[in-house]
Symmetry: C2
Subunit: 210 residues, 2 copies
Amino acid sequence: MRADAQRNAEKLRAAAAELFQERGLQVPLKEIARRAGVSHGTLYNLFGTREALIDEVVTDLAAERLDAIAQQALAFEDAWDGFAYYIEKLCELQATDPAVADVVGGRYPGAERLMTVCGRTLATVERIVERARQAGTLRPDFTSADLVLILAANANLARAAAASAPHVWRRAVAFQLDGLRTEAARRPLPVGPLTPEQVYAVSGSLTRNP
Amino acid sequence: MRADAQRNAEKLRAAAAELFQERGLQVPLKEIARRAGVSHGTLYNLFGTREALIDEVVTDLAAERLDAIAQQALAFEDAWDGFAYYIEKLCELQATDPAVADVVGGRYPGAERLMTVCGRTLATVERIVERARQAGTLRPDFTSADLVLILAANANLARAAAASAPHVWRRAVAFQLDGLRTEAARRPLPVGPLTPEQVYAVSGSLTRNP
DNA sequence: AGGCAACTTGACCGCAGGGTCAACTTCCAT
DNA sequence: ATGGAAGTTGACCCTGCGGTCAAGTTGCCT
């Protein structure tokens, strides 16, 4: 790869990182090229697809954030505290970091590195949930698949309230967590948990893609 | 108004009602015209704006649905049961009726009749919530303004899961309701309720408009 | 029946986004 | 220093949306 192409790729990566974090992963590619100061043709030439660019620019960032909160959650002595911490932090990411929110709430099958990060995260979620359930504080009918229900809820509230009430998602999360303790469980849930395939399908359209 | 215009208006109203209920209020106007079998120019000629069409076609439908569940909710002996019924039915509407979902989750300032329906509904919500809170079953820190938090949550889950798990919203609502009982309340909520202005702003962008 | 107002039509405009490619420019190995 | 490969550019195409309007058609009153 020639030196000037290398430089352009770097400029594009930088611009993409900025815009992805400011406005989410669906930001127009031409706008990224504009901010980088190159033609959009060059962007297509160097990266080919949006997903390839995402994979290069967003993966490490998302992995860092997601792994960090997962580790901290598991470090709590109290299993419930760890669980609640994890939920809150994940929701905070959704509210404050459009790029990570889209990683969590979208599907980018072409971004291979990103997909492995998602897989790793799912496994950790399972551990956090299982630990809290076994401790007896998390209601036993809550599955790790139910996490996407919370994320679906929060994604929309965070988006809808971003301009007018940027912190109100915390209130909603508090309500939700109160409903997840063992003592809060009243009667059998009306429907069973999502299957892994359903989790995949639903979590792939949490943030608006169409 | 000439007879043929009258007929066309009727065809357009019918097509609009169908498409609004199938696909929501943002369905392309040209598609409505196509289904009605007239030129889109005629649609613009007869109705002028999307909101005018909505006002004529959707208002009565939405009013009927919303008033019905509100009345039934207030008819429950038990205040909590009425409240829970209302939440569930509202969420069911969001999940099954795209048109009503968009009425609840959007803003159509040009649709005057529709606006009065919304105002009336808000007042009834207040009564349902107040009744359940005074009965002592609904946690006292829950405000009628918090209803939009639930609706925001459900709007997105219903949309995201519509294809793959069309009933899972019931599970999420069950979790949420369990968190709203007085006994579930653990500690002060991290942020206060939305102001009326914030409710207006947030509830205006529950469903995707941009 | 005729004529005019009312109505309809579809081509057309503007916008925004994704994506392609021939012609031009720049780098760098020889 | 120079020629050819590598890279860049921006005009161009396509799609789909909202919206307008001159020209043509139709209903209805006289």
